[in-house]
Symmetry: C2
């Protein structure tokens, strides 16, 4: 986006997707004097409740997309599985940030891994798997345990299976539906961390501190800042994020999920995956940083100055509320330093992200 | 509100009035998992943009009020000039917080002054003025300078006139339209401060720190926390707020505007007026306190635990953006520690509150 295309207050941000991330982007846009327009196919999308306007339509409904493009001043999205054709159609008439290139690469695990490795950044060892023969050959090179993943549309542990000593390659391939896949070597990590950062079209860049992430059942349970990494690791993670964003010509907030391998002088940072959007591991910034990742995203896609990423307080924790855990809301309201964030979802299904809470801790 | 009537997430808060205060209440309700429904007569009300639903109707449209009451779980309001008849009509079928008693008293300056004085709390000297004869008698008792104010519907300096030595009483009475009035003695204050506090139906109470307020042209220009008052003054202000809230059986957030008279050991705190709502002088809490006044109001009217009122950082400033001043938005976005809050109003008329910004200062 050129300086000339800088948005003015009163403009409308169009958001593809109507879940909690779109909801929190909309809540961050309003105090900046911006309107929001949500585009999502699902009735009762949580973001509809806080947006200026919404269109309920399918992602391949080009008439609805054209009306949406005409009603907004910039388009962004809350999830990386927006069809590239949708983004490309919109991009004919309106700025779409992040761009379709970032979307195309991060939607396809093999493209993404090759892109990261091509920057000279360490990833898990990986190999393309289209056939059972390729899977067996990849296993012989990469070894076990290894993880077989569909190349597209995986999240929160879906579309992937672990292959351990003695496991049948054929059964594993069946388990992911024999879809085009990638085999990834197991990374013997000591912890999982992530870096959330923002880049503006002109290259201005700001990263939040590295966040340490604890998963349960493949879903993020808790993020803690600062992470238990060395200052070298902290700097390396920020530099990795910057390299990736520059190479993608990225505009907006994104996250890079990382493995920390080894410790002390042997510590290494290995890229797991890139999320071209605001990210669950950045939710701590809502109350724990000077500028939330949601406001930062709005600033970045609007061509506005990026905000301070400084942490508020000695330690910040973010804990997801999955399914019934949202029932803890009253206790959270009573907890010193805690802030509640519920997503307005009607039904607390098992495994569903219903909300989260943050806590700024005195030490 | 009894404990049994405590709201649950997913409930809907109805708000009378659609301006910036309603907008900021709605923005605070959403992360708590609450929906909002705005009721306001004006097209394009700023709060419509961020609320789950809105009704555009007149305050005396009882059919529309009945539909509104049926659609929400509690009713609150953003301004003290809601007709008492409207609140009373709604209160037949739904909880209205703050209650109609607080509304009735604070809408009428003579009732309000008498109420405060009746609690043994110091106010400016005052007298009822219905006729020119009463005005002349009041002037002879109270002296000059004095301020003649309409008893109803004044805000931001409207509906009032100063009477100095040599001014004609008749002209002053004409200037306020010979409406039922009150004459208030001039208080030789050294500064204007306010206290914003919250009370829950069961008496739970929490006050923010005293805020120092600087006005320009009768409109708040800047609030600063902490205020330049003694610790005795600070405690007295909090105690005044608690007494007033208890006597009103108040539920929700309110502000008491105060004069500080004298200094050091001679310092006195004099009540100017009560605002039965979230208040401009509490906007600093959005970024400068653990819990914003808007979230606190939602917690109080929902029967939820009140949040911490602790200040974030050594000093907090809130500056209003009046009329063209909203054009400073880009500069504010670049200012360290600053947070921008625009109200989404289309037209920057002179004297119109377009937004504000807060700044947490390192010293």
């Amino acid at each position: 986006m050129s300086h000339a295309a800088m948005l003015r207050p009163g403009s409308t941000i169009g958001i593809l997707g109507g879940g909690q991330l779109a909801r929190m982007i909309a809540l961050a846009a309003a105090p900046l004097g911006l309107k929001t327009h949500i585009y999502a196919p699902e009735a009762g999308s949580p973001a509809f409740d806080v947006a200026t306007a919404h269109s309920r339509a399918a992602y391949d409904d080009t008439d609805a997309l054209d009306r949406f493009a005409a009603a907004v001043d910039v388009v962004t999205y809350e999830f990386e599985n927006v069809p590239v054709a949708t983004a490309e159609h919109l991009a004919k008439t309106i700025a779409v940030h992040p761009g379709t290139r970032a979307l195309g690469i991060t939607q396809e695990r093999l493209l993404e891994k090759s892109f990261v490795a091509g920057l000279g950044i360490e990833t898990a060892p990986f190999a393309k798997v289209d056939t059972l023969e390729e899977l067996e050959e990849a296993l012989s090179v990469i070894g076990r345990p290894a993880v077989l993943k569909t190349r597209r549309f995986g999240y929160d542990g879906k579309g992937q299976t672990m292959i351990r000593e003695g496991d049948s390659a054929a059964s594993a391939f069946d388990a992911i539906g024999r879809h085009p896949a990638i085999l990834e070597g197991f990374v013997p990590f000591v912890r999982e961390v992530s870096v959330v950062a923002a880049r503006r079209a002109d290259g201005a860049f700001a990263a939040y501190e590295v966040t340490e992430n604890e998963h349960r059942h493949h879903i993020l349970h808790r993020s803690t800042v600062p992470a238990n990494v060395t200052s070298m690791g902290e700097a390396a993670a920020g530099e990795i994020a910057r390299q990736i964003a520059d190479a993608l010509g990225y505009v907006g907030v994104f996250a890079v999920e990382l493995f920390v391998v080894g410790s002390g002088i042997d510590e290494r940072i290995v890229v797991n995956e890139i999320a071209p959007r605001v990210h669950n591991s950045g939710h701590w910034t809502l109350d724990g940083a000077d500028t939330s990742q949601f406001e930062q995203h709005v600033r970045a896609i609007s061509g506005w100055p990026l905000g301070s990423t400084a942490r508020r307080g000695p330690r910040v924790e973010m804990t997801n509320l999955i399914g019934d855990e949202a029932g803890e809301w009253h206790h959270i309201l009573e907890t010193p330093g805690a802030h509640l964030h519920l997503y307005g979802k009607a039904e607390a299904r098992a495994g569903r992200k219903m909300g989260h809470w943050t806590r700024v801790l005195p030490e």
